[in-house]
């Protein structure tokens, strides 16, 4: 008798679960919430939560349930978490993913299961090219676009020789190749360091000094970026060889770097002071809630919510209509915090890239847009993408 009762209860619970699953939108959010880059995942989560609040915690009228998973910056962990979200949590959408190597590992289960996915940071060239998929969209960029913009800016500044340094993983290689693609001067050194284990860059900085370049380009996201800038300053190179960066100084590292970050230019597709209404609302409300500026990681993640809202609306909440959802997403019918926003044929945004620098406003250090480096930039891998119609 007791067994039967328990079985009934279990069945009831199960059917209740199944019934409510149809009425909620289930989102699996994958990012890094531990270790030296945990601040990035935290900023993404805060922005995602803020965006959901701005939408009344509903997408296309359906209530939202979010499951956050930590990839620990490891591809093998990331792919497990993605598989768990798809197979056991049966999520409707996957959102997030910071790291290109995690993305490359996770793409196979995502593509095989046709899970509708919005990548909000990782910009592996494979995603823009041969591994593009009808149901995978990016609200970020291709890795090489930002360093390409910096390469252009280095040309403008009359840099003739450059020393490039970055971590030895998928994005690091993409970044250095990005600079090489647009920089017209000579590359006098190219270093890839062990990632994420190596945190002491002194041997490489000595090497850079010895190569006597006009400029150093560096790509170090998250905590290692703070370490790189700190060691660059400690080495006394700051007055001798100017540094150009991509994804190294942002609103997350700035409160720790403070005046160490001043005068070091970087490129970005979004800056907190971009003049449009959606951005103003995002940044003001974020600051009211968390007392700091959001970072571009957060902005890209914020954009995923209005995008998904437009997608769920377009199919009236019937999330089995994947092809209609795809068409809706391709229209990019939402107000992005970076102003104009549209997708290329490979579902990677076509967008502007800005020159940004850290400035001191009162007692606070903040990122500031200095100029537009390139307008409506499209990644150069889209022709390798054979997107089925």
């Amino acid at each position: 008798m007791r067994k039967t009762l328990m079985l009934t209860a279990a069945l009831l619970a199960f059917s209740a679960g199944a019934a409510s699953a149809q009425k909620t939108v289930k989102i699996g959010f994958v990012s890094t919430f531990s270790g030296p880059t945990a601040a990035i995942g935290d900023d993404m989560r805060k922005s995602f939560e803020l965006a959901l609040d701005h939408h009344g915690r509903k997408l296309g009228g359906l209530p939202v349930e979010v499951i956050y998973e930590d990839d620990q910056i490891k591809p093998e962990v990331g792919v497990q978490k993605v598989q768990k979200l798809i197979e056991s949590d049966k999520v409707d959408f996957i959102v997030g993913i910071i790291w290109s190597n995690v993305l490359i590992a996770a793409l196979k289960p995502i593509i095989d299961s046709k899970t509708f996915t919005v990548v909000t940071n990782a910009g592996a060239s494979q995603l823009s090219g041969e591994m593009c998929s009808p149901y995978v969209f990016s609200t970020a960029w291709n890795n090489d676009q930002t360093p390409q913009a910096i390469g252009l800016y280095m040309n403008q500044k009359g840099v003739k020789t450059a020393f490039l340094i970055g971590p030895n993983y998928a994005a690091g290689k993409d970044m250095l190749e990005g600079v090489e693609a647009t920089f017209k001067g000579q590359i006098v050194g190219r270093e890839l360091t062990a990632w994420p284990a190596q945190v002491d860059f002194q041997a490489e900085l000595s090497k850079a000094r010895n190569a006597k370049p006009d400029a150093i380009f560096a790509f170090y996201p998250g905590g290692p970026g703070i370490q790189f800038i700190t060691q660059y300053n400690q080495s006394g190179l700051k007055g001798q060889i100017p540094l150009y960066t991509a994804f190294t100084i942002d609103s997350l590292s700035l409160p720790r770097l403070k005046d160490q970050a001043l005068g070091i230019p970087g490129a970005q597709e979004w800056v907190r002071d971009l003049p449009n209404e959606a951005n103003k609302k995002y940044v003001d409300d974020f600051r009211a809630r968390h007392k700091t500026d959001p970072s571009f990681y957060g902005a890209q993640t914020y954009d995923a919510v209005p995008l998904l809202d437009s997608v769920v609306k377009a199919v009236n909440g019937d999330l089995s209509k994947k092809d209609e959802m795809r068409r809706a997403a391709e229209k990019a019918d939402f107000k992005s915090v970076r102003g104009n926003f549209k997708f290329g044929p490979n579902h990677i945004p076509i967008q502007n890239f800005y020159l940004q620098e850290a400035v001191k406003e009162g007692d606070e250090f903040r990122m500031k847009t200095m100029a537009t480096i390139v307008e409506n930039d499209q990644d150069k891998h889209f022709q390798k993408c054979k997107m089925p119609n």
């Binding site: 270790g35 002194q202 000595s206 010895n210 400690q234």
Partner: protein, 305 residues
């Protein structure tokens, strides 16, 4: 040439850090016959203590000094509570027990300080580079590391070779039963040695922290290098640990500086850029393998064993 000197200084500085870790490891292994995988946790703990104490006191030097004391005490407490039951047991039990401690400490730190990690900022006069030779600029703080560690090494030498405690430590390493029979409190001696090893590891963590980042698991990668150092130097020998640490530091740094360029001569530019770092990081393990083949006791085996 100046460039080579600069890279040797870099190697020296890495070697100093390795020595601080390896000295404690080799003392504990040589005297107490204990394999301590949680040594890296003490390195991490030292960095967290210092980061907190620098924040509280507002002074870099005071924070470091208090941090060393705190790690010394933490090490002794750890020895009394968790390490004592392991003495005299099989090495496999040591590995299992201390690996458990390593996981415990990672989660303890996550509970106390949170997952995000901390930074230690340097006083501004250490944020610049000084000219050590004409044309050779070197970060001031890295020079501080080299000098401070040399001083610690000297102190350690005096302590072990010239004091009564040191004599007991050496005697304990040679024949612990006899020392015990002579009425020396060997338990207390072990506790002190473990605390000393912990303080050295913690100091290493504090020296690394301003260059890098205070984070969970920061001691694990560098602990592997410290084991390489004590294998090369000879287990139980502080002199061996010092010479091996400097050798490993210089070989690793010089390797990172020159091997990628060398590899690019033979491979394509981009293949060389990827393979170079991998090859250069293999150098010290090759050295360890050679030492194990030709001098399995290490270069400077502790005498009396």
């Amino acid at each position: 040439m100046l460039y080579l000197i600069e890279q040797c200084l870099n190697g020296m500085q890495l070697g100093m850090l390795l020595f601080l870790l390896a000295a404690g490891l080799t003392l504990i292994f040589g005297i107490m016959d204990l394999i301590n995988l949680a040594h890296g946790s003490l390195y991490m703990l030292g960095a967290y203590f210092a980061a907190t104490l620098v924040g509280v006191t507002g002074s870099f030097v005071a924070g470091i000094a208090l941090g060393v004391v705190a790690t010394f005490i933490a090490g002794m407490v750890l020895e009394v509570i968790a390490i004592r039951p392991l003495y005299g047991r099989d090495h496999l039990d040591h590995v299992l027990g201390t690996f458990g401690l390593l996981i415990f400490f990672n989660d303890l730190v996550r509970l106390i300080w949170g997952p995000a990690g901390l930074t230690i900022s340097l006083p501004s006069q250490m944020l610049t580079a000084v000219q050590v030779l004409p044309g050779v600029y070197y970060p001031a703080f890295r020079l501080v590391i080299i000098i401070a560690t040399l001083a610690v090494a000297l102190l350690l030498y005096v302590l072990v070779m010239r004091t009564r405690i040191g004599m007991l430590i050496r005697a304990g390493a040679s024949d612990r039963e006899m020392v015990g029979a002579l009425g020396v409190n060997i338990k207390l001696l072990y506790t002190l040695v473990f605390g000393l090893g912990a303080a050295l590891a913690g100091f290493a963590g504090m020296m690394q922290a301003p260059l890098a980042f205070v984070q969970i698991g920061m001691g694990e990668n560098i602990l592997i290098l410290a084991f390489v150092v004590i294998i090369i130097g000879g287990i139980g020998s502080i002199r061996g640990a010092f010479i091996a640490a400097v050798t490993v530091g210089i070989i690793d740094t010089i390797g990172r500086a020159f091997v990628p360029d060398l590899v690019r001569h033979f491979l394509s530019y981009s293949a060389g850029s990827s393979a170079g770092p991998a090859l250069s990081s293999m150098l010290i393990y090759t050295l360890m393998a050679l030492v194990l083949i030709f001098r399995p006791e290490g270069l400077f085996p502790a005498s009396g064993k």
